[in-house]
Symmetry: C2
Subunit: 375 residues, 2 copies
C-alpha cells in the first residue's frame, strides 16, 4: 500500500536487490545487509527495523545474488567436486552422497569430471578455483597426477580427498580401511576352506593398490601360495574382470576363489564364468568390493565389502566446511568397511568339502539370502 512495489506482490521483478528492500523498508541498504546476514555479524539491530526489513524482503521475493557476494570475497556456498570417473557406478553414488550432504549444509556442488585424465583434472582445479568454490572435494585416486595433488595442496581453498587411498599426500582425507576389508573377504573364504585364492586388481592406485597389497600381505601371513598369474591387473570395468577370469582359468592350477578389487570387476567375472560354464559359487567363489546397488542383483548376487559411503561423504563435507574456518588441519579419517555375504561364495569344491555345508545346501539358502545379509 505504501509504495508501488507492494501493489504487485505476485509479480516480483527480475532481480530484487537489497536497495529495493531498503527503499521499501525505509532503511539504508547496509542495514538490509546486516539484517539478512544476522547470524554472522555481531551488530545488534532493533526489533522493529529487523521486522520491517524481513517483511519487505519476503514481500519482494528477495534472493541474494551469490555472484555479488562472492565478488566481495564472501562465501559462494559452492563446493567443487572433482571426480575421476562419474560413469563408475561407485563414484556416481559417491557424488550423490556428497551433493546430499552438501545440500544439508546449504552448499551446491559444481561437478568437475576428469574423465580419468590427468590434464583434465588439473584444468578442472583451476576452473573450480576460478569459480571461487569454497572448498574442493576430490573423489577417487588422483595419485597418478602428482601435479594436481601438488597444486591442490598449495591451494588456498580447503581440499578434502575421498577414496584416495590412505597415503596422505598432505591433504585432508577420508578413506576406508582397505586392509580390513580385504581381510574380511579372505577370512570368509578361508573359513569356507579356500586356499587357492586369486586377486584381480584395477589400475593400482590408492584404494585399489592398498587392496592389492593387503591381499598379498595376508596371503603371505597365512603362508598360502600365490602362484604366478594369481594377481591379475586389468582396467577397472566388467570387461577387465572377464578378461582376468579368462587368464586365471587358463592357469595350470586355477583358483577356487577370486577376490576382486571392485564390484565392477566382479560383475565381469560373474559374466565370464557364466559364459564359460563355470558355476558360481559351486565351482568358483567370487568376492567384490564396494557393494554397488546392483551387486545385490547380479547372478548370483555378489558377496562383497561394503563401505560407509554416506558417512564418508558427510564427514568429508564437514571437514571441507570446517576447513573454511581453521585451515591447516590435515585430518585423515579412516572408516571401516564390512563384509556382506551373498550367493557368490560357498564352500570350496572337491574332497575338502565338509558335508554339512556343501554346495547344494548353499544353494538352498539362495532364496533367503538373495538380498544379502551381514555376517
Amino acid at each position: 500500500m505504501t509504495s508501488e512495489a507492494s501493489a504487485h506482490p505476485a509479480a516480483p521483478k527480475q532481480h530484487v536487490t537489497m536497495a529495493d528492500i531498503a527503499r521499501e523498508a525505509g532503511v539504508s541498504q547496509s542495514t538490509v545487509s546486516r539484517v539478512l546476514n544476522a547470524t554472522a555479524s555481531q551488530i545488534p539491530i532493533s526489533e522493529p527495523t529487523r521486522d520491517r526489513v524481513l517483511l519487505a524482503a519476503r514481500r519482494l521475493g528477495y534472493r541474494p545474488n551469490p555472484l555479488a557476494r562472492g565478488l566481495r570475497g564472501a562465501s559462494t556456498m559452492l563446493l567443487g567436486v572433482i571426480v575421476r570417473d562419474i560413469v563408475d557406478p561407485f563414484f556416481s553414488g559417491a557424488v550423490e552422497a556428497v551433493t546430499t550432504s552438501a545440500a544439508a549444509h546449504g552448499y551446491n556442488v559444481v561437478l568437475g569430471h576428469a574423465h580419468g585424465r590427468a590434464d583434465e583434472a588439473i584444468l578442472l582445479r583451476s576452473v573450480l578455483e576460478t569459480r571461487h568454490v569454497d572448498a574442493i572435494l576430490v573423489l577417487g585416486d588422483m595419485g597418478d597426477q602428482p601435479r594436481l595433488i601438488e597444486e591442490l595442496r598449495g591451494d588456498h581453498v580447503p581440499v578434502v580427498a575421498l577414496w584416495q587411498g590412505s597415503a596422505s599426500h598432505g591433504l585432508a582425507m577420508v578413506s576406508v580401511d582397505n586392509a580390513h576389508g580385504i581381510s574380511e573377504a579372505l577370512d570368509h573364504l578361508l573359513a569356507h576352506g579356500h586356499r587357492r585364492i586369486a586377486f584381480i586388481s584395477g589400475h593400482p592406485l590408492g584404494d585399489i593398490e592398498e587392496r592389492s597389497a593387503a591381499y598379498g600381505a595376508r596371503m603371505r601371513a597365512e603362508r598360502l601360495d600365490v602362484p604366478l598369474g594369481y594377481v591379475q591387473h586389468v582396467s577397472n570395468e566388467p570387461a577387465g574382470g572377464e578378461q582376468a577370469l579368462a587368464a586365471l582359468m587358463g592357469l595350470p592350477v586355477p583358483p577356487t576363489a577370486i577376490v576382486c578389487s571392485t564390484d565392477q570387476l566382479a560383475i565381469g567375472v560373474l559374466h565370464g564364468a557364466a559364459i564359460r560354464g563355470i558355476a558360481v559359487p559351486d565351482e568358483l567363489s567370487v568376492v567384490g568390493f564396494d557393494d554397488l546397488p546392483i551387486s545385490a542383483f547380479t547372478v548370483p548376487s555378489l558377496t562383497t565389502i561394503r563401505m560407509p559411503v554416506r558417512e564418508m561423504a558427510a564427514r568429508a563435507v564437514e571437514m571441507a566446511i570446517e576447513g573454511l574456518q581453521n585451515s591447516g588441519s590435515e585430518t585423515v579419517e579412516v572408516l571401516r568397511p564390512e563384509l556382506v555375504v551373498r550367493q557368490s561364495t560357498a564352500v570350496v569344491p572337491g574332497p575338502a568339502t565338509p558335508a554339512a555345508t556343501s554346495a547344494p545346501a548353499a544353494h538352498r539358502r539362495a532364496a533367503t539370502l538373495a538380498r544379502g545379509t551381514r555376517p
Copy 2:
C-alpha cells in the same frame, strides 16, 4: 624487467586482475578488457597494444573472474543440470555425457540432484537461477512436478529438457523415439515366436509412460492378448523388476517374454529368474531399455534398446547455448534408439520351437554374442 611483477614470473599473485595487466602493459584497464574479449566487441585495437596486453596477461598468469563477469550481467559459462536421480546408472551416464559436451563449449556444470523429489527440484531451479547459470538442462522426467515445469517455462534462462518424454511441456527438448524402441523390441520377440509378452513399467512418467503406451498399442495392433497382470507397475530399480517377475510368473498363464521399460528393471528380472530357477533365455526371454554399460555383462547379457546418449547430450547442450541467442525457439528433437541383441532373448520355448534355432543352439552362440551385436 619493467616492473616488480615481471621479476617473479613463476610466482603469480593470488588474483591477477585486469588492472594488474593494465599497469604491466601501460594501458588502461578497459583496453585490457577489450583485448581479452576480442571476439565479442567490434572495437578495433591496434596490433602493438593487443600484443602487449596479451603478453602481460600471459606473463602474469591472468584468469578472468567469472563472478565479476556474471555480476555485470555477462555470461557465467555455467550450465545448471537438474537430474532426477543421479544414482540411476542411466542418468549418471547422461550427466557424464552432458558435462563432456558442456566442457567442449567451455561451460562448467552445476549439478542439482533432485533425489526424485518435486520440492527439491523446484528449490534447485531457484538455486540455479540465483547462481546465474546461462542455461538449465533437466534430465529425466519431471512431469509429475507441474510447478517446476511451469516455473521453468516462465524462466528467463533457456531450459532444455532431456528424456522427459516427447510431450512438450512448452520447453525445448531432446527426446528419444520410445515407440520405435519398443517396436524394435517387440519385432524381435515376435520374430522369435513369442506371443505371450508382458511389460514391466517403472513409474509411468514421460519416457516410461510412452514405452508403456507403445507396448499397449503394438500388442493391440498385433491382436495379441494382454491378460490381466501382464503390465506390471513397480519402482524403477532392480528390486522392482524382481518383484514384478514374481507377480508375472505367478499368473495362470505366465509370459514367455518380458519387455522392461529400463535395464534396471531387467537386471532385477534376470536376478529373480535365476533365483527361481527359470532359465533365461531358454524358458523366458527378457528385453531391457537403455543399454547401460553393465547390461553387456549381466548373466545372461541383456538384449536391450540403446539410446544415442552422447548425441542427445550434445544436441541438448547446443540447444541450450543457442537458446542464449535466440530465445523462443521451442525445438523438440527426437532421436532414434536401436535394438542391441544379446543373450537374454531366444526362440519361444515349447512345441512352437523351430528345430534350427532351438535353445541349445542359442546357447552355443553365447560366447560369441557375449558382448552384444547389432541386429
